[in-house]
Amino acid sequence: MTIVFEKRLTRSRRAMFLVPVLSLVLALVFGAMILLVFRVNPLEAYRVMVQGSLGSGYALSETLVKAIPLMLTGLGVAIAFRMLFWNIGAEGQLAMGGIAAAYIALFWADRLPGPLVLPTMFVAGVLAGAVWGLIPAFLRAALGVNEILTTLMMNYIAILLVEYLYLGPWRDPQGYGFPGTAQFPQVAWLPRLTGRVHVGLIFALVAAVLVWFVLNRTRWGYEIQVIGENPRAARYSGINIGFNILLVMLLSGGLSGLAGMAEVAGISRRLYQGLTVGYGYTAIIVAWLANLNPWGILLVAFLMGALLVGGDQLQVALGLPAAVALVLQGAILFFVLGGSIFVNYRVRIIRGHKEAKEA
């Protein structure tokens, strides 16, 4: 007996609807088993998670705080993925954006007119992310270097650079040796809308409109699509692939850089450990769960934020070990992502001698 995955010729509407529902149900059932091991009522645990992430104004605001960087980096990687350019480097691009914004805030805030500080940080953050994205783009376009490796490796460089700066030359001289830069002057704080939710949310919404417009309403967006779906056809029709790689990575890196700028200026207000906590990697999941659709990314980023925030509540309200929340988060992602294969493939079980004929 063998089990084969067969590609569906047409996507089944039923599968499209049922698969995600079933995946989620399975994930919740799986999670329930783990919770039962800890002698916790699973329904109570799920209620706590929903309550803690969506159930009050404060909970919602904290969910949005986590969602903002996921939205921006998610949009950033999605645009690169559309043309099958595997930008795994959002984390590093975010880090560089944070560094550039911090540099302006720490060393230029008193030399610039007040109202110009934040716009300068904005531009610096976007540029730094874009340049960081441009390096692997150039290596790929000019020399054919695999971007999966370069973007990934450049993350470590950027993350270690952040560490070097706040542990070394930029360490707060009044900080008693504690790691972290001094707090930014107030002119460099990104205004907050409510709770800790900052203007970065508006950046993310505008970015989504922009990405949607570029991808669906411009010639350039069409070219990106063609390159992604059929590079050979793109080449024959005279699309300059190398040039497009550079442009796309400028935008992709720039959006992640903006996420970094928003994090340091809106949340930590200093360069700190905790800037690179994996938003850039989670962004990859966000982008794929949303099928690279900009509106979908906003929504999935929000839900992912809820999952992160809700997980924390398990510890506080039910006294569960921190790791249980991570297991639950992992289970939900595993089932939902894993389930998506059944939308495009069907499973067939082939028995005994029939195998030869059927295969």
Partner: protein, 381 residues
């Protein structure tokens, strides 16, 4: 087509989350019906247990820093029984996100919050300003408010005593010290330890390696191994886990623990450990809150209070060393002498504390130089 799947999927996730919330509406309403039936049998609101929250940087399983705070929490529960109920949040990163964890526990009804790492200082101050009727206690920091106090212990005292042991037992005259962050707390510990070492062995040197992390078992082990490679025969540490001790033991070398009595977990190669007894402070402070006598403070208790101590010495330590440690401990306990009393020289041989003088608390709390005998540098000085 593709887009639709994405949107559908997202919608389904939302719907199911909402459904899950609705389903739970029923059990939720049960809670209040339970409460009133219990309440009248007892005296009304005064009998509600006081909720006390603890914010941890790691997990009690580290057998070090967080383990000791959790031991203190358990002592609090034992001593005050029904009067208190504790909430624990583990693995809270230092920095801005700690703000959320602290606010969360307050919204869960905590009236006293103990935050047990330096990096929670600014976030705690922010939350403290929002909730003037909650008592905030920050371990190891220096910022206070009307409703926010600091607490810490004079760990340098037992560290000095552990230095006497290390100085007596080293044969290579090369002692390794795995250190977390170059902040005054850690520097003070290294200095006190080195003063102890040099007291009995003026030829010995203490070599410092920074890990720039409190809690990272892998990094701590690597740092210890690097020191052992260079020839250290005793490893001391200022970290949150037992990894440096294990690394030394695997090479057949000795070590000095920290935080908890690491000999219990690693074995007799751990000669002794300067340890915390937070329970003493936690019980006293929460009692003050219950009595309504809590006022803001900056607590820095020493061996005399019992908040810090030296763990029992390993049987590998000879009796004469034991006697010396007892003698010196007696001097500290009686208050006749303290560790940072002169003469003390810095790394360059310059006299920092003249004979007959002792450093003030303020000077000790902002210490940013190494004493003679330490090999290593303090970054960005």
């Amino acid at each position: 087509m593709r887009k639709r799947i994405g949107i559908l999927l997202a919608l389904v996730v939302v719907l199911s989350l909402v459904l899950a919330a609705c389903k739970q509406a029923a059990p939720e309403t049960e809670v209040p019906t339970e409460a009133p039936t219990e309440a009248p049998t007892e005296e009304m609101p005064a009998e509600e247990p006081l909720k006390v929250a603890f914010i941890y940087i790691g997990q009690p399983g580290d057998l070090g820093w967080t383990y000791e705070h959790d031991r203190g929490r358990k002592m609090l529960e034992e001593e005050l029984g029904d009067q208190v109920e504790t909430i624990v949040v583990m693995d809270v990163p230092e920095g801005p996100d700690a703000e959320k964890a602290i606010r969360d526990v307050v919204q869960q009804g905590a009236k006293v919050v103990f935050a047990t790492s330096f990096g929670y200082m600014d976030p705690m101050l922010t939350v403290a300003q929002e909730f003037p009727d909650v008592y905030f206690e920050h371990c190891s920091g220096y910022k206070t408010a009307d409703n926010m106090a600091t607490y810490f212990g004079r760990m340098y005292q037992p560290r000095y005593l552990s230095g006497l042991v290390a100085g007596s037992m080293t044969e290579a005259n090369f002692i390794g010290y795995v250190a977390a962050h170059p902040i005054p707390e850690v520097i003070r510990g290294i200095n006190a330890f080195t003063l102890g070492v040099r007291q009995v062995n003026p030829d010995a040197e203490v070599h410092v390696v920074w890990t720039n992390t409190w809690y990272d078992p892998v990094k701590e082990r690597e740092a210890a191994e690097a020191l052992l490679d260079e020839g250290a025969d005793i490893i001391a540490q200022h970290q949150d886990t037992t990894e440096p001790q294990k690394a030394a033991q695997e090479r057949g070398k000795l070590s000095i623990g920290y935080d908890s009595d690491m000999r219990q977990f690693v074995g007799d190669t751990v000669l002794t450990s300067p340890v915390w007894n937070w329970g003493v402070y936690y019980v006293k402070t929460v009692q003050d809150v219950l009595n309504g006598t809590w006022v803001t403070h900056q607590y820095w208790g020493g061996m005399a209070d019992g908040v810090v101590a030296l763990a029992e010495l390993s049987p590998m330590v000879p009796d004469d060393v034991k006697q010396l440690v007892d003698q010196e401990e007696e001097k500290i306990l009686s208050g006749e002498w303290d560790v940072f009393c002169g003469p003390i020289y810095d790394q360059n041989g310059e006299l920092k504390v003249p004979e007959g003088e002792c450093m003030s608390d303020a000077d000790m709390l902002s210490m940013d130089w190494f004493v003679q005998g330490v090999v290593g540098t303090i970054p960005t000085q």
